[in-house]
């Protein structure tokens, strides 16, 4: 009889990183499908381009560092899909490719690969292109144009390194009534206009490729939570703290602040709370630290949206939360069983 000595834990759930990552990709597929239905070819091309550039960046850094091939752990795929979903549908494809390379190289490879990255790679990629191409990343295109499955939004097919093609004539040629080219958050910030709720749920409001339907994101997120692929505390803490703050501001500040449903349904809050803040490598581990982490992200999002120069703050809020994650884990450790103060 042979005896084996092993360290705990002795039971393995059978889950490994690639399995979890693969299910996150599955959960994102409906979101991708919805955005392709909304924006047609441009959205499809953007998702494919960004994902392929992330995979290429991952492969090149594998080669350069001489490590094993890490394409099969699905992490680069997730980074690519998530990054594409945070970009506007009319974003030029070459800029999407730049974002993909920046995400994987600056966000992950330079730190030593998956698990060593302090920041969510997809958001690093987005932050890079936001700083590099501030105009293109705030140029919005209308959804549900009649020709969307046969033609691209003109700016998608811009030549590499060149300025995006102007889309104003394309917008008027498509006879989109009342298209202002501003997101619900921007219209609130600059005009105090409250977007109709149904537009924000059906995806008619202009927004980034994958953030238009809060409801769909919620359903996909619930799937991951039900299968225990993500910690439910993070999205609850992020959305909950944002909601509480929004209600409080509305209650005590009055009409100067947007209604709470606008805060929840618009922008990247749902996408960020469910799919980006929950990234395992960049979020804390212990329950109390997780609650604090989520609350910080929700609070900072609201503060940026209400008092900052930008209309949307989810990206920087999550990056800020990522930076604090190790500190939170250090100071909010669970009490060790049997330990005395």
């Amino acid at each position: 009889m042979s005896m084996q000595l092993r360290a705990s834990p002795h039971l393995h759930s059978g889950r490994d990183v690639p399995t979890i990552m693969r299910h996150v990709v599955y959960a994102l597929l409906p979101v991708c499908a919805f955005s392709i239905w909304q924006y047609g070819l441009s959205s499809l091309a953007l998702i494919v381009t960004v994902t392929l550039s992330c995979l290429a960046a991952e492969r090149i850094s594998n080669k350069m560092s001489g490590t094993v091939n890490t394409l099969s752990d699905w992490s680069a795929t997730i980074t690519g899909v998530l990054l594409a979903l945070t970009l506007p549908p009319a974003f030029p494809l070459w800029m999407g490719a730049v974002a993909g390379f920046a995400a994987v190289w600056l966000g992950k490879s330079l730190f030593g690969g998956l698990g060593h990255n302090p920041f969510n790679p997809a958001l690093v990629g987005r932050a890079f292109v936001q700083a590099a191409f501030p105009t293109a990343i705030t140029t919005w295109a209308p959804a549900f144009t009649p020709q969307r499955f046969v033609e691209f939004i003109p700016s998608s097919l811009t030549l590499p390194l060149m300025q995006p093609n102007d889309i104003t004539t394309w917008v008027s040629a498509n006879m989109v009534d009342g298209f202002t080219g501003a997101t619900p958050l921007a219209r609130w910030k600059f005009e105090h206009f409250v977007y109709p709720v149904e537009d924000m749920i059906t995806g008619a409001a202009s927004a980034s490729t994958g953030e238009t339907s809060a409801l769909l994101l919620l359903v996909c997120g619930l799937y991951l939570i039900a299968r225990k692929f993500m910690d439910w505390r993070i999205p609850v803490a992020v959305v909950g703290s944002a909601l509480l703050l929004a209600l409080a501001f509305r209650l005590f500040g009055g009409d100067e602040y947007p209604p709470a449903h606008l805060v929840l349904l618009s922008g990247g809050l749902m996408l960020g709370a469910l799919f980006m803040a929950t990234d395992m490598a960049t979020s804390p581990v212990s329950p109390r630290a997780i609650w604090a982490y989520g609350a910080i992200i929700g609070t900072v999002t609201i503060l940026i949206r209400y008092f900052g120069g930008l209309t949307e703050g989810v990206m920087y809020a999550i990056l800020f939360g990522n930076a604090l994650a190790p500190l939170l884990d250090k100071y909010l450790q669970p009490k060790v069983f049997g330990a005395r103060k």
Binding site: P134, A136, L161, M162
Partner: protein, 209 residues
């Protein structure tokens, strides 16, 4: 004292500053001007040459005076000497190119506290004859200028689509705004450091094999 070995070591000293001990890529000294003024190739070159001038003059002078400077007040003395040449450079740039003077701003005066210069004075010029100090300073100056130029050219090409103000990609070029902002300086510097570290590692591997 024969002439031949002295010249060989001089050549080595010159290359030391340009390559093996490059102040920007290897020693990572003088980071403040390196990051701040390298938004264009022209600014970078101007800053590099100004620093090289101060470096050569002050190191040579310090080396000549090395026996007369009391140890206790040597840093103060070096600073006075360096500041003298910086004042000179300050006025010269102002006279030659006002545009460059305005672009470089306070960083010309800040050459006084550039740690490359004080470092060279303390580590080399204080213990070596004037010729050796001059060669060493020249090498370091050229190395610093190359470093600044490497950063400045990349940042100008991506950030404005130009090199020395000459447009490279036509008028429809999309500038990468981040490259002329401070984060761009850190990104480009980081990538150059990475590149040189990679080169060094590869060379080491080749020698080992």
């Amino acid at each position: 004292m024969s002439c031949q070995p002295l010249q060989a070591s001089n050549m080595e000293q010159l290359l030391e500053g340009i390559w093996k001990q490059n102040p920007v890529f290897v020693m990572a000294l003088g980071m403040c001007p390196t990051l701040a003024v390298t938004v264009s190739a022209f600014n970078a070159l101007g800053m590099g040459l100004a620093t090289t001038f101060v470096l050569i003059c002050s190191c040579t002078l310090i080396s000549m005076l090395r026996r007369f400077i009391p140890r206790e007040v040597r840093i103060a003395t070096y600073i006075v000497i360096i500041a003298t040449f910086v004042t000179l450079v300050d006025y010269i740039i102002q006279a030659v190119s006002l545009a460059l003077y305005e672009a470089l701003g306070a960083f010309i005066q800040l050459i006084v506290v550039n740690c490359i210069i004080l470092g060279r004075a303390e580590a080399h010029a204080a213990n070596n004859p004037p010729l050796s100090a001059l060669v060493n300073a020249l090498g370091m100056g050229i190395g610093f200028t190359i470093g600044l130029f490497a950063l400045g050219s990349v940042r100008e090409v991506l950030g404005a689509g130009k090199l020395f103000g000459i447009s490279l990609f036509g008028e429809h070029f999309q500038p990468w705004v981040v490259m002329v902002l401070p984060p761009g300086g850190f990104f480009v510097l980081g990538l150059w450091l990475l590149f040189f570290a990679w080169l060094a590692k590869r060379k080491e591997a080749q020698h080992g094999a």
